[in-house]
């Protein structure tokens, strides 16, 4: 029963509460109404006795009148009426209370009864006398009867008065009681309203309690705390259902989070593996290419060529091959390691020499170098690509003698390397494009494959700052100038 009640739906529970409250009010109202009804009935009954007495008085009068009429006229009608009224009167008298009590009504009822007997007796005698034409007799008895009639009338009137007096007190008391009852009823109603309010409050609190704890739990969950014990489901109502669903939801959210975490970990592992594989692959490719180049073979071949040139006394050829060997060795030996400015400049020297041989001394190369800065460290393969860029884009496309000036100088704590050409120069767009570090699409195949973007990226990584290179050009046909800024303190000697 109790569990069934508990499992009712919330709607029914709410209805039940309001029904209960209304029932209480109804019951009390009913009781109050019952009381009012009863009291009005009592008030009505107060004057019942007076009515009874009035009736008695009227009946007595009718007896007396009928007797008198019979005495006057001696008609059979009058006699019949007399008998009827006497019977009626006798019946009414019998209905009077006759116990001897302190209250006037019943005590005087006793007197009236006795007196009525005497009276009716006298009346009877009078009628008898009249019928027997005994004038003396009926006159005497008539007198007696009339005397008794007077007494009776007085008694009935008196008791009526007394009754009225008593009843007035009763009536007043009843009225007072009625007024009191009115106040009482109002107070009861007010108390009931207060109780009902309390009742509704406590019942709904009880009803909503799981909802409140659910809210608290939901707040916890939304704050990210999934480590909560599931809520207890007490009733099988809507809140119970919601609570159950909530419990399941919390559990399944926890499951999902676990799953997502596992997935992420798996993916991460997968990616790492992929990256590893890629690097391995590159490594392998590089090794493969390096193996193909076989620098020893290349250098031995070039040395053999140099020796052959020396034997034939072709000094220039010898020098050229020697420089070329140096240039390639630098590429293979240093790769992407850190080098000094001096080593880089040596590479540029070799490169220019080779170019000048190739293009029969087109490029006029000047150097202004602060020799104290030659030991400052820098990434390898930086200056040569810049120079190559100057040659390929600046000088080659211009008419006349090309000039490249390389300067190394100190500026405060910075070692600056500037490479200046007198080539066709650059417009602003090209400079911005170069500075942004995006690879050039129309890269020539005859370079050693290192683009400006790579140079820039490596310089930035090495110095740990973006402010590593400046590109200047005074406009098309006025040459261009690259300046590299390096930290002077980072040197090999330290």
């Amino acid at each position: 029963m109790k569990t069934r009640l508990k499992n009712l739906s919330l709607r029914f529970k709410m209805t039940g509460i309001s029904l209960l409250v209304n029932l209480i009010v109804f019951a009390i109202n009913l009781a109050l109404l019952f009381g009012i009804n009863r009291m009005s009935g009592q008030i009505e009954s107060v004057y019942q006795a007076n009515l009874q007495l009035n009736e008695l008085s009227a009946s007595l009068k009718s007896v007396q009148d009928n007797m008198t009429e019979y005495l006057n006229a001696k008609t059979s009608d009058a006699l019949e009426n007399y008998y009827l009224s006497a019977q009626e009167y006798s019946d009414l008298v019998d209905m009077l209370p006759s116990d001897i009590k302190a209250s006037s009504m019943s005590r005087m009822g006793h007197s009236i009864k006795a007196m009525s007997e005497s009276y009716l007796d006298e009346v009877e005698q009078t009628i008898d006398g009249k019928r027997g034409r005994n004038v003396e007799k009926y006159r005497n008895h008539y007198e007696e009867a009339t005397k008794f009639y007077g007494y009776l009338n007085t008694e009935i009137n008196s008791v009526n008065n007394e009754q009225f007096k008593e009843n007035r007190m009763t009536y007043r008391e009843m009225l007072n009681a009625f007024r009191f009852f009115e106040t009482f009823g109002n107070i009861v109603m007010i108390v009931v309203i207060i109780i009902n309010a309390f009742l509704i409050m406590s019942l709904t609190t009880e009803l909503i309690r799981p909802l409140t704890s659910l809210t608290g739990m939901a707040n916890e969950v939304s704050a990210g705390n999934f480590n909560i014990s599931p809520l207890e489901v007490k009733d099988e109502d809507e809140i119970g259902v919601v609570t159950k669903a909530f419990n399941e939801m919390v559990v399944s959210i926890q499951d999902y989070i676990e799953k997502i975490r596992e997935n992420a970990e798996a993916e991460k592992a997968h990616k790492e593996k992929e990256l590893l594989m890629e690097s391995h692959l590159k490594d392998a490719q590089l090794k493969y290419l390096q193996a193909q180049i076989n620098p020893h073979f290349l250098f031995n071949t070039l040395n053999a060529g140099a020796q052959l040139a020396m034997l034939e006394s072709a000094d220039r050829t010898y020098e050229y091959i020697q420089v070329m060997a140096e240039f390639f060795r630098y590429n293979v030996k240093k790769g992407f390691n850190t080098v000094t400015i001096g080593e880089e400049i040596e590479l540029v020297d070799n490169y220019i020499y080779i170019l000048n041989v190739r293009f029969s001394g087109d490029i006029h190369y000047e150097k202004e170098i602060d020799s104290t800065l030659l030991d400052v460290e820098m990434p390898s393969m930086i200056l040569q690509p810049i120079v190559e860029n100057c040659v390929n884009h600046g000088i080659r496309e211009m008419m006349g003698e090309g000039r490249i000036t390389l300067k190394v100088y100190a500026l405060d704590n910075t070692a600056c390397i500037s490479i200046e050409d007198n080539g066709i120069g650059m417009d602003r767009d090209t400079i911005d494009h170069l500075m942004s570090g995006t690879p050039m699409t129309n890269e020539k195949k005859d370079s050693n494959g290192i683009g400006m973007d790579n140079v820039l990226a490596r310089l930035k990584l090495f110095e740990g700052t973006d402010d590593v290179i400046g590109i200047e050009s005074e406009g098309p046909g006025k040459g261009s100038k690259f300046t590299i800024y390096l930290d002077k303190e980072r040197s090999n000697t330290v």
Binding site: R38, S103, S111, S118, V191, S202
Partner: protein
């Protein structure tokens, strides 16, 4: 823990709901039982017997006192005593009241009335109806009355006589003799009054004959008072002062309550306090006041409680044994300056 809590909570809710409802119901029930009582007679007691009491001046303190005593005594015997005529809307003579009583089916009649032929006839009628009649205070000896309850008029007379002598001895009077006026009812051919008058006279004269007195001679004269209607007594008493202006009595004796009150009032009104001494009858409020103020010398009082008690005793005895004593004599006592305080204290206690 929470389960326990919620269980406690639900119990609390039921208590909160049911207790007020229960209390309200209880209050309503109480209220109804209270209103139920209002309509009904407070006393549901049903009496075994119903005795009627009839007296001429039923409103006077004296008769009311006797009536109260009788009523109280009757209550103890489960008999209801009613002063007939009190509740009637019309006022009747004692004869008429007697007739009503005889025809009202009462179980006993206590009547204080003068002796007359009609009354004797009515007592006869009652006798035929098996209603015992007790004559109170004034006897109707030649009738079928059951018994008489009252004072011995002779004793009463002696008491008055003694009081007159006492006054004659203690006070000084201006005249050559001490004139005593005794108020007697002119309309009553009552033996009792005569006996009383004679007893006074006898007592005073008996003393005179002893020759042992040392006071002036005492002259006793009756003074007729007309008591035919309610106001004639007062008029008669006033007449005494007007007609006998130069010859006022030294002592006036009132033999009933109304006479006494009238004399008291008249003496005060005529500035005769001190020159006219009053011997009163009964201890009504105004008489007691008179004694207190030293206007009335003394009053002879009757034990009204005893009187009422005797009436009921006589009737009860009759119903129990079929017969009872013919005479019941009530005690009399004198109230004067000496014992007025004590009397009043006793009265206060009684009240």
């Amino acid at each position: 823990m929470t389960q326990k809590n919620s269980k406690f909570h639900s119990i609390l809710i039921w208590i909160i709901t049911l207790v007020p409802v229960f209390i309200t119901g209880l209050l309503i029930v109480f209220f109804f039982s209270y209103t139920e009582k209002i309509g009904r007679e407070e006393d549901e007691k049903i009496y075994d017997r119903y005795y009627a009491m009839i007296a001429e001046d039923s409103d006077s303190d004296f008769w009311q006192s006797v009536y109260r005593a009788a009523k109280e005594a009757g209550e103890a015997q489960n008999a209801y005593v009613e002063m007939i005529g009190e509740t009637l809307s019309q006022s009747y003579s004692t004869l008429e009241l007697m007739e009503i009583a005889v025809n009202s089916g009462v179980d006993g009649i206590i009547i204080a009335a003068d002796e007359s032929k009609e009354m004797t006839d009515l007592i006869e009628k009652a006798y035929q109806k098996n209603i015992p009649v007790i004559t109170l205070f004034s006897d109707i000896p030649n009738s079928q009355r059951l018994s008489y309850v009252g004072v011995s008029n002779y004793n009463l007379g002696r008491e008055y006589g003694n009081l007159i002598l006492q006054m004659a001895n203690s006070k000084s009077f201006s005249g050559s003799s001490i004139k005593v006026s005794i108020l007697v009812d002119a309309n009553v051919a009552d033996l009792g009054q005569n006996v009383l008058y004679l007893a006074i006279k006898e007592t005073v004269e008996g003393e005179n004959q002893k020759k042992a007195f040392n006071h002036k001679p005492i002259e006793i004269t009756p003074f007729s008072v007309d008591s035919t209607n309610s106001f004639s007594v007062e008029e008669s008493v006033r007449n005494m002062f007007i007609s006998k202006d130069k010859n006022l009595p030294d002592i006036v004796v009132g033999l009933n309550e109304i006479d006494t009150t009238s004399i008291y009032q008249t003496v005060v009104d005529n500035n005769a306090v001190g020159s006219v001494n009053i011997l009163g009858y009964y201890n009504s409020e105004s008489v007691v006041q008179g004694i207190e103020r030293n206007v009335i010398y003394a009053t002879v009082s009757i034990d009204t409680n005893q009187m009422g008690q005797f009436c009921i005793d006589a009737l009860s005895e009759y119903y129990e044994f079929g017969y009872t004593s013919q005479y019941f004599t009530t005690d009399i006592y004198v109230i004067n300056q000496n014992n007025i305080k004590k009397y009043m204290e006793g009265n206060a206690d009684e009240n």
